[in-house]
Symmetry: D3
Subunit: 134 residues, 6 copies
């Protein structure tokens, strides 16, 4: 059960109305996801976070579908159910194929294993050949 | 300091020699990364893990550079220093630009924040519109 | 579903009875929270943990409401649903306002983001000016 | 070793100069912490993050020293060395006593333990008596 | 709700049939656990993972029941509900007593606490007396 | 660098002296590990934690060497360098062989992978056949 009130779309607050309308128009959805309803308890916070998400999670140096896959990787590693569902659906709607999803999950699984092995072995970073890193 | 012996390249074990040679040829590197030297304490494990990495971490449904970025996202979220350095260097050597790295880091940061907010709010997954999910 | 039996309040074990009575009196509650019912499978463990919680989670150098907020920060970062609900309710019952909860959540979210960014950047600790730290 | 260039204070970029000057004035420090030097690789990101930190990490519904303690709790739970040092120093400079630090650490340790126990027991949240939660 | 289709036992794919039959025979169970049904979306991945689990999770230098307890420790620390249930049941079916489970949970809890305290104190590893470590 | 003073063995505090002497006698070591030196900033906390460790980390329903391996599993999953070194050395000194260490690390690695896959697949716990669980 949510720990805060989820602000409904018919809110009297004009800033909330404006952000909710922009979310629906930008994402082409008809229902506001719960995360934005929760953030709306603090309208300034809602505005700031949405502006950030809208700007960053659009096509840029990386296409948006790749950014959603990266968000899936973070969310799986943190074990956030809501977030996994949300970013996976976004990636699928942006064209991620089943084969890509299988590879995404496999890479996430594999490196959670290798991260643990590296911690167990207590390895120091390899000396890196990349010039720009020096 | 490593918790296991790092097996050197001149090992007498033929299986270790074969895997080490394949790693250097496949990755076009001249020095074996420490993770493979550590895994070589158990040659069967070394073979199996390398076969898996070689197969999965090549161009497939997703290009290898994207897979390395996903591995960065996992490694940053787990806080594995060796792994962050390793996958970041791999991604850079495969052509990741500074702008792409900035976006990658920004997405990782943003969704570690949102994962925490979603946990704090205790949100249930949104009802998802994707047909294939039902 | 719980992985252990939850020991009911009418237990025959006198140590369990004594601890349960003390929990209800100290916390001014009428029902024993599930964590104590689970710990009661090992009465010595129950006694020891309750003594620790009773002592530490009272007003000291820090007021108890602040300690409950710190427990919320730990629990959100670990993603423990039971714990988030438990400590949030405790903090609210001790007087935490909605504005304080909003700030608490915002700080937790912000520093989960910055923790990830710092890992991505692989930063060494700044040289610290505090005399006592040297 | 940092994975990005740390932008020095004498940068030609006027936005970077302005943010760096504001950080030093606001925090009353003479040297820019590494996190801001790293973020300065993307000046817009630098501005946005600093504005957020400056606004949130000031006295509000919660005093800033408490917010720094909450940031310590998050950073310890995530295992971020840079962040632990940074927020601990900030809290100390804002007046956190040794007794408060001892209690802060004890609460963080205790609830990392209880979070794990609750996961092991697979407990469902207790029914909560708080009216506002319903 | 699962994010992928759970492949049923009557699958036409002969590799899937063979692995499912081997899982049931090896584990002496009549129903395929969901993790294998999910992995079966990629039959090669299913084969490889099952071969790995079958080989590693049998009596070796460590008895299987101890390996299942170690898997419980990992799963509790990561907060994976499915995994906790799965490995706990396996350990119980292999003879883990209630007293052993209580000690297992207590050790997991205790060291999640000490891990956090060590991070808070920012301790460097002790100089280790073991000859083989040098 | 430690965030608290490490209390030296020649401390004037009689409780600290007593605990330090008991640690050295019980563990048959000549130097106090840093974690106890850090905890000694709060002598009551030192006594309580040592009593807990001394009691739990001895042969019981599970032998101590197995408990140290479980502590390694927790510490690797949390990425605590000090703790990994400490518990690994303890396990080795209690007789853990190289083959057992290899299997321990392999199980830890494998289930960090499976935990991530289960999160990605969002699996509900299997219906469990164990009578005692109902």
């Amino acid at each position: 059960m949510p720990t805060v009130k989820l602000i409904e779309e018919g809110s009297d607050d004009l800033r909330i109305q404006a952000v909710f309308a922009d979310i629906k128009a930008t994402r082409k959805i008809t229902k506001i996801p719960a995360i934005w309803q929760a953030l709306a308890n603090d309208p300034i916070s809602l505005e700031m976070h949405w502006l950030r998400v809208k700007t960053l999670m659009s096509d840029g140096a990386l296409p948006r579908v790749i950014k959603e896959m990266i968000a899936v990787a973070v969310s799986v590693t943190n074990g956030c159910d809501y977030c996994i569902n949300s970013h996976l659906t976004a990636a699928e709607n942006l064209g991620m194929t089943d084969e890509q999803r299988n590879e995404l999950f496999a890479v996430i699984g594999l490196y959670n294993q290798f991260n643990a092995l590296v911690q167990a072995y207590q390895l120091e970073p390899d000396t890196l050949p990349k010039a720009a890193r020096e």
